[in-house]
């Protein structure tokens, strides 16, 4: 029961952070939010007993792509406004 509640919370976290990534005005905040969605997804994969997939999701979705976005924001004018 407690674990099911946890899974539901994690899934809600994916949806909320995904929506925030689309709706937030600040680019940096939106980028962090999309990384958070990947992190929640990785946690849900661990709960579903798929640690290999979770590791790839955490490394590529939450790590690599977030850092690449961070770099892009710093290099363009978007990072200078806020």
């Amino acid at each position: 029961m407690l674990q099911e509640l946890f899974v539901i919370l994690i899934c809600a976290g994916i949806i909320v952070s995904g929506l925030l990534a689309v709706t937030l005005r600040g680019v940096t905040a939106a980028m962090v939010s999309s990384g958070l969605a990947s992190l929640f997804a990785a946690v849900s994969y661990v709960l579903l007993a798929a640690p290999d997939v979770a590791m790839a999701e955490a490394a590529i979705g939450a790590g690599l792509s977030t850092l690449v976005f961070l770099h892009a924001i710093r290099r363009t004018s978007a990072g200078r406004e806020d």
Binding site: M55, A59, L64, H71, R74, R80
Partner: protein
């Protein structure tokens, strides 16, 4: 009119997926195929991690295809983005402003996290046959470390020649191991060319750790080159 069509399409999709949602019942036992793999991978290959055993031996050819796709991406990114390097007359070089220096937090954070990230990546790569992970995941972890390095120290220069040679060498060795499997074992990329060893030991599971290490080196080098190309 468009809205009506959109509503019909949405309704059709809903009807398709409603069947999935209504008829869903959770499995209490793994399917027949999954059971077969769960029994066969530890017994036949000697790998404690079933997923890596499947990826590297039973589906080795598909993994080679994935790496080939990544290689083609790296090659095309290189072709597209290296054009601006020849002269300083390219528009990118003229309009590029000096980027903001990285914040104190990123610089110090990178110094603390980087060794751990690289070590963890190496651990994931070489322990692919025992614990969760393998070449692909470990390579991605190492590549995230490289991005952090580039973010924390913008002055750092990656040696593309060295990375390319390493990556090509790993690829050639990977295919060579696969061809050796044709002669000494059951087929292309069969991991039985090396003895199975004791189950759960670091040196065990035939050629799986070797192939996993080559995969990790190749993936990490390719991703690093792609990232560095975007930087310039």
């Amino acid at each position: 009119m468009t809205r009506v069509w959109a509503a019909i399409v949405v309704f059709l999709f809903g009807a398709v997926f409603a069947g999935l949602a209504v008829g869903y019942s959770e499995r209490t036992a793994p399917s027949e195929l999954a059971m077969r793999y769960l029994e066969q991978v530890p017994a036949d290959l000697g790998a404690a991690n079933v997923v890596t055993g499947i990826l590297i031996t039973y589906r080795g050819f598909d993994t080679l295809g994935e790496v080939a796709v990544l290689f083609m991406v790296a090659a095309s990114v290189g072709m597209l983005l290296s054009g601006g390097r020849g002269g300083s007359t390219s528009p990118a070089a003229v309009t590029a402003r000096p980027a903001r220096p990285p914040s104190e937090l990123v610089v110090n954070g990178a110094q603390v996290v980087l060794p751990i990230a690289f070590l963890f990546g190496a651990y994931v790569i070489v322990n692919g046959h025992l614990s969760a992970g393998g070449g692909f995941q470990g390579g991605a972890v190492v590549a995230s470390g490289v991005v952090l390095l580039v973010l924390g120290r913008p002055s750092v220069v990656l040696d593309h020649g060295f990375l390319s040679v390493t990556e090509s060498l790993a690829g050639v060795l990977y295919v060579t191991l696969g061809i050796l499997g044709l002669f000494f074992a059951g087929g292309f990329l069969d991991s039985h060319i090396l003895p199975r060893g004791t189950f759960g030991a670091f040196v065990s599971a035939g050629a799986i750790p070797l192939i996993s290490a080559l995969l990790g080196i190749k993936v990490a080098a390719e991703l690093s080159v792609i990232i560095d190309r975007f930087r310039n």
